[in-house]
Subunit: 467 residues, 2 copies
């Protein structure tokens, strides 16, 4: 690793750095410390960018990309650095574009329930801004990610079962192409049949087709009534059974989150949750008018009873609700705290709801058999769950075991008609499974990449495996 | 026109026809009558395909496309022939692929609320099949279109405000590429971050990137309670005001349809609607549990009163509801019956909800000033409305006036931040507006087309204007 850390930039990259210096001044950084900060957390490949640029406008991004394009130097877009699949590793060096200073909220159109923001705005920043207007943006990956990064990985979170993923809530984008042109996709209408859906082409493209610099997003009115509840089960089977029936009945749950007993134990310890047992647990949230919410709660209570779940503990006050959901969002850190010093391989299986029970049961059995500590948490209303496979990165045998378990979870999801990644993206971490999941379509994906980025400068090595 | 009708196929097309004959037998038709049937209704360009093929499997489609690719002969996919923007005109001749015999419902997974069907299945056929299982597919363009055609034009209909468009309800596709390869996109999971979103690339591509032969679609449980109601207003302004507030308040309406007094008069006459006036009218539908629906109706009633709307006339029984919505679906034919022998230019403006009131008012004033008969109908919950501009196709002056009015409606929508086509697609009819609406993005759309269909054989001349 020392070699890369102190290695000089390649000739081409150094040329770009020299050209960028007058434009960016101290917003172009080549120190090892800053380059180190711009890698994804937990990665082992020793791959650093040659420099980190901090642009403050779309035009500046375009100017940087044009220089990189001319010199065929890689460009790696960077938001908050919270991706989990190695999306930010500079496997061929290049310029890391840190968009965190592009954090302007350009317009909030309360009447149209939409907004336009720069890509570096984080989800928490946006929601703080919106609160006074009675609006919110529902998507919430665990981390306080940037909205640009969330679009790039097609992220979702706990509210997706009701409000959709970044695919559904994004109306349009501003994108800097690999040639350094600025284009606008989509529009402000709720729906359109006008031409190819470029918005959806860039969403989930992980910076491999261009740089997202602005987003037009749908917003939602804060519901009249929000009721959060926790419900514990004697076993995971009962919990998953209840979820399956609730989804099949079409109860419009806003959130339905599963934590297994290992994860729940971790959260109780980390987030000081009181009055709860380290048992399989559902975190629920209901949105609507008073009568509609009452109806949903009654329906859900009936289902939970049928599957042996306990009573609902409600979090009524806003601060109690916030504490509950903060605990859920901190699940990753709570899990990591179970075994300090370990790394986590985080799986992201998402399967059809009819397969959820068997896939979770088989996964749980395999996790227990592995002897590793593996909390499970998930957005089960979408059929999506994460196993955090904790392992000592310095123990080759344990690392291999963790890797094998992660691969098995991904393959089981694909075999069940699902996907190896519901919301984290492919990056480097899931490249190995793309042939199994999308074999016949990979030539078309490669043709798309080659057409839009013919020199292959955009975040090389990610998302689509080589032929 | 006679010249084209009797003209022999070009050399290349004739070669393909000769090669296809042994495979397809009488499922390959070159008669003028059948070629005439495979044009879009109401088109004036005298452009017929050289032959019409009726494949019965994806493999057969692939074999036909491979022969066309080798000879560089155009391929025009055809579903039910209900498109409105000239999507089916064979501007360069070629083989029309009529997919109506690919009408198998391959699988209905009631537990997962999804199904897999061949592209020639129509929406009515699918819903008849689903009814016994308590499921339905909500999207409903006025005509009984095929699902393949609906995907190709990114169609929606009256339920899109609640259930989304073809973009949201399609989980995956089988596509025959312009090279004649068969690929599968997407999967069965509710969400996925695995690679480029090819499903959304093909949805709305109007047959210009490949042939959709199968679809994996989301289904929905028939709601416990369905309440339909009609509500009449003294003026269009009050109606649009009520719609705007309902959308802004986030009332989860399943359907909210506007008919202006001209359209309502036409529907009363055509569909024998009783007890209603030729006045601006909302057709409403509420879905949910009994308490939730009651709550929605109360909220909506309050809004309607505030904007001067009349009382709700409910259609309770299923047959009354069906009669009401059949009248809505027949609005196009009711409008055409106002002036038999005329053609219709049908606009498809879709604007942000805050712009709906001014855009509808200006459009209405312009329509009245034109002196033409112009019923207006729309999915106003999405900001989408159609003006049917009736005109005598043999009267050059009237035709020019109709065309100018259509252009004005399209341009006004784009100027308001909306789109010239919410759900009908671009085809030939909206090509002129693509520069205004998506100018900066057109080079990327062209690059996409060139990459996926390098010989330009797929439905040439449609969707994306030449550079």
């Amino acid at each position: 690793m020392t070699v890369m850390l102190t290695s000089p930039a390649g000739m081409a990259a150094q040329g770009v750095i020299d050209q960028l210096r007058p434009m960016l001044g101290d917003r172009l950084v080549t120190s090892n410390a800053v380059r180190e900060q711009h890698r994804a957390e937990g990665q082992v490949t020793p791959a650093l960018p040659d420099a980190v640029a901090f642009p403050t406008s779309t035009e500046e991004v375009a100017a940087i990309v044009r220089l990189c394009a001319a010199a065929k130097v890689p460009v790696i877009p960077f938001g908050a650095g919270t991706s989990l699949e190695g999306q930010l590793e500079a496997v061929r060096g290049g310029i890391c574009l840190d968009l965190s200073r592009m954090d302007r909220i350009i317009a909030v159109n309360a009447e149209d329930l939409d907004c336009r923001i720069e890509a570096g705005v984080t989800r928490e920043q946006l929601n703080q801004h919106l609160r006074a207007q009675g609006l919110f943006f529902p998507l919430d990956p665990g981390a306080n990610a940037t909205l640009g990064g969330m679009a790039a990985t097609r992220a979702s979170g706990t509210n997706a079962v009701r409000y959709g993923t970044m695919r559904e809530v994004t109306l349009g984008l501003t994108v800097v192409t690999p040639q350094g042109e600025v284009i606008r996709t989509g529009g402000r209408a709720r729906k359109s049949s006008a031409g190819y859906d470029l918005t959806r082409v860039y969403i989930g493209s992980e910076g491999t087709l261009g740089v997202i610099t602005e987003l037009q997003l749908r917003l939602f009115g804060i519901p009249e009534v929000i009721a959060s509840a926790v419900c514990q089960f004697g076993d995971l089977e009962g919990l998953v059974g209840a979820v399956t029936v609730a989804v099949q009945m079409g109860i419009p749950l806003a959130r339905i989150e599963m934590l297994d007993e290992v994860q729940m134990g971790a959260c109780i310890a980390y987030s000081k949750l009181e009055g709860m047992a380290a048992a399989p647990t559902l975190f629920l949230e209901f949105h609507g008018g008073p009568q509609g919410v009452t109806e949903q709660i009654e329906q859900m209570r009936g289902i939970v009873e049928e599957f042996g779940g306990g009573s609902f503990q409600f979090a009524e006050a806003a601060e109690d609700r916030n504490r509950l959901w903060k605990a859920r969002h901190d699940a990753y850190w709570a899990a990591r705290a179970l075994k300090p010093g370990t790394n986590s391989i985080t799986t992201d299986a998402c399967v059809p709801i009819s397969a959820l029970a068997s896939v979770v049961a088989e996964t749980k059995a395999e996790a227990v058999a592995s002897g590793l500590v593996c909390p499970i948490v998930g957005h089960v209303g979408d059929g999506n769950f994460h196993v955090m496979i904790l392992h000592d990165p310095n123990d080759a045998k344990e690392r291999a075991k963790a890797k094998a378990l992660g691969a098995s979870v991904a393959r089981r999801a694909i075999a069940a008609g699902g996907t190896c990644t519901g919301e984290h993206g492919v990056g480097l971490g899931k490249l190995d499974y793309m042939r199994e999941e999308h074999g016949s379509a990979l030539p078309v994906m490669r043709a798309l990449k080659a057409a839009l980025d013919p020199n292959g400068i955009m975040n090389p090595g990610k998302t689509i495996p080589d032929a």
